[in-house]
Amino acid sequence: MYESDLCRTVTMLAIDPSKKLSFQRLISNGDLVIVYERHNSMKAIKVCDGSELQNRFGVFKHSDWIGKPFGSKVLSNKGGFVYLLAPTPELWTLVLSHRTQILYIADISFVVMYLEIVPGCVVLESGTGSGSLTTSLARAVAPCGHVYTFDFHEQRAAAAKEDFEKTGVSSMITVGVRDIQGQGFPEEFCGMADSVFLDLPQPWLTMPSAAKMLKQDAVLCSFSPCIEQVQRSCETLKKDFTDIRTFEVLLRTYEVKEGSLDCGNINKGDSPQSLPCKRKQSSSRSSNGTNKSSATTVMAKPCSEAKGHTGYLTFARLKCL
């Protein structure tokens, strides 16, 4: 729950350098924190003196959090605990409410790099969706650049705008309601954009407009789930763009643990099928002389539920005239 009068204390971006993380700020009333239960269970909460958080670990009073450093472990009435993390765009992507399918960190970080976004850049984006990428774009252009993002869905645009206020990035972002696919980008941006990002069902319809918006040698990116969309986009891009490349970023997650591998007893006569293995000699340095027959080792395997394909990222550079 958020109160209507937002105290913009901790912002995700240190646009005001006096508020940056490096100065070891403590949690204050009104700050946005990311409550970390587990790596796959987190939520964004605005700290409010008098409020409480209830979860499976118990009841947590917000007042206990105030004055503690970010990153602290805090206890519930039952002795359970959570961590209170400082918000970052990566954490925000993991906790934000999905109104649409979002981009995740693997795609986001690649897009920001390949679009060559640095502080001061002007970036045009359509559609805004849930604002996952937009937040990272804002981080990259801060403090003197700007992101102009457009979505044709009025409610989603409004929800995104609200999110940007909550996370403190709204000074870097302007949200517009516009059908970019049908109408193109507004004329006032002609020749102003350092980068353009498109996440549209028929991005080829927007490419001529994007070409007008971009500065020379600037980069465009189009995200499409289907290869047929990519094919059509690339055909259209050839007219005004060069250096056209399409990538697919696949994130493979591993489950990692430390465990012991039992060497077994190689002298056992009644299991002839067991594979021979070396018996580890215990070193003279090991304590109390116990002969270990197992060794701990780090083991890893790819997760079967790993996220697979999200979409294809097509990048292109505006041709030099």
Partner: protein
């Protein structure tokens, strides 16, 4: 929407994101569509070897990024000419195939001597035969060219073009071009590199992560390049980012005032204690990354070296260059004072270091809830780091 044009500060953006080269700028020459990538510093006398010809780079000064040049074969040495890139031909339905083509090495009627003669041709001394003309002559004199499929014809033209009329594309160096780009991009995102951030980078890959972090900071915050032992790792590649290009040409008093300098606060940190300096010599006119010059001032082990806008002051002969400054001056510099009081986020790209002890040593310098990102090219090592980090955190009091 009512366009809030005050945000579109193009002047601001062009300092960080220039679109045209200038003298002294380091560019990336993309030869024949990525076949070869060469760094080059654009000075009046600079030359680059393209194919087997030495070419003057003077025509590249003042051209827009993305410009394409073609090498011309001339008697007095190749020079550039700016060429329009031809659009791709429409894909046609193919009716030919290669059943009647025999590869007997007899198809080409022009010999090597004929080609050399064309290049030298007196009657067009001032022009010589251009590469394009040579290619056209080769096609005209090939008995099998017409029989080839259009795909095969394109391949033939491309091979000849690469040899006789190499194409050079002028690119602006950017962090995305080296170290596998997805690795670098994830390091920057995961370490939350953004305006006013303060980042420690343990960089043993030539300076790419250091430069990339500085690029993202855009003149705010600090990036500290950390090393262990007595010799800092080379971060030569940082020079290729063209930081301070304008700064180098201005005088000392302007340097001290200028806050837009993306290299304003790159420090090299060793143990976070005492410091020595590193300066960048921007007058070096070699095409390769000039050596990072070390200026040792009362070197004490566990040292940190700093490059700031202040260091890039005028040297004795008036050109920009590194200038030794006294330890008092050094300690008093705003950058060092700031670094000593800060806490950081962390990026590690150090294939040869024991990563866990590196992390442990730098831990006291990290801020609350600081993200850190560690890269290692070997999976096994990465897994081990993860286990150790998880174990250490689960035991911490919080």
């Amino acid at each position: 929407m009512n366009g809030d044009m005050s945000k579109l500060s193009t002047e601001n953006s062009s300092n960080q994101n220039p679109r045209i080269t200038w003298e002294g700028y380091s560019v990336l020459l993309d030869i024949n569509d990525g076949d070869r990538l060469v760094f080059a510093r654009l000075l009046d006398k600079s030359i680059a070897k393209i194919g087997n010809k030495k070419c003057s780079l003077r025509p590249l000064i003042g051209c827009p990024f993305g410009s394409i040049f073609q090498v011309e074969i001339r008697p007095e040495g190749a020079i550039y000419d700016n060429r329009e890139e031809k659009g791709d031909a429409q894909v046609k339905d193919e009716v030919k195939d290669n059943r009647n083509i025999v590869d007997s090495n007899c198809a080409q009627n022009l010999s090597g001597e004929d080609i050399d003669e064309m290049k030298r041709s007196d009657f067009v001394y001032l022009q010589g035969a251009t590469g394009v003309q040579i290619i056209e002559a080769l096609i005209a004199n090939s008995s099998t060219f017409e029989k080839k499929t259009s795909f095969s014809q394109e391949k033939f033209k491309l091979r000849k073009q690469k040899k006789y009329a190499p194409k050079v594309l002028v690119r602006r160096p950017f962090a995305r071009r080296f170290l596998r780009v997805d690795v670098l991009s994830l390091l920057l995102s995961l370490a939350n590199v953004s305006t006013s951030s303060d980042i420690i980078v343990v960089d043993m890959v030539g300076g790419i992560p250091t430069g990339a972090v500085a690029e993202r900071l855009g003149g705010t915050g600090h990036v500290c390049n950390a090393y262990f032992g007595t010799t800092p790792c080379s971060i030569d590649i940082v020079r290729m980012f063209n930081f301070d290009d304008k700064i180098c040409r201005s005088n000392k008093s302007k340097l001290l005032e200028n806050k837009e300098n993306a290299l304003d606060s790159v420090c090299q940190l060793n143990g976070g204690k005492i410091f020595s300096h590193t300066g960048f010599d921007s007058t070096h006119d070699s095409l390769l990354a000039p050596e990072v010059q070390m200026i040792q001032e009362e070197v004490i082990p566990s040292a940190c070296s700093v490059v700031t806008g202040e260091n890039l002051a005028l040297s004795a002969d008036g050109g920009p260059g590194p200038v030794p400054i006294s330890m008092d001056e050094f300690d008093a510099s705003p950058t060092i004072k700031a670094c000593k009081s800060l806490k950081f986020c962390l990026v590690i790209a150090a294939p040869e270091l024991d990563t866990w002890s590196t992390v442990q040593e730098l831990f006291p310098l990290l801020s609350f809830s600081a993200p850190f990102a560690i890269y290692h090219q070997y999976l096994q090592v990465s897994f081990q780091i993860l286990v150790v980090v998880k174990y250490s955190f689960s035991r911490s009091p919080g």
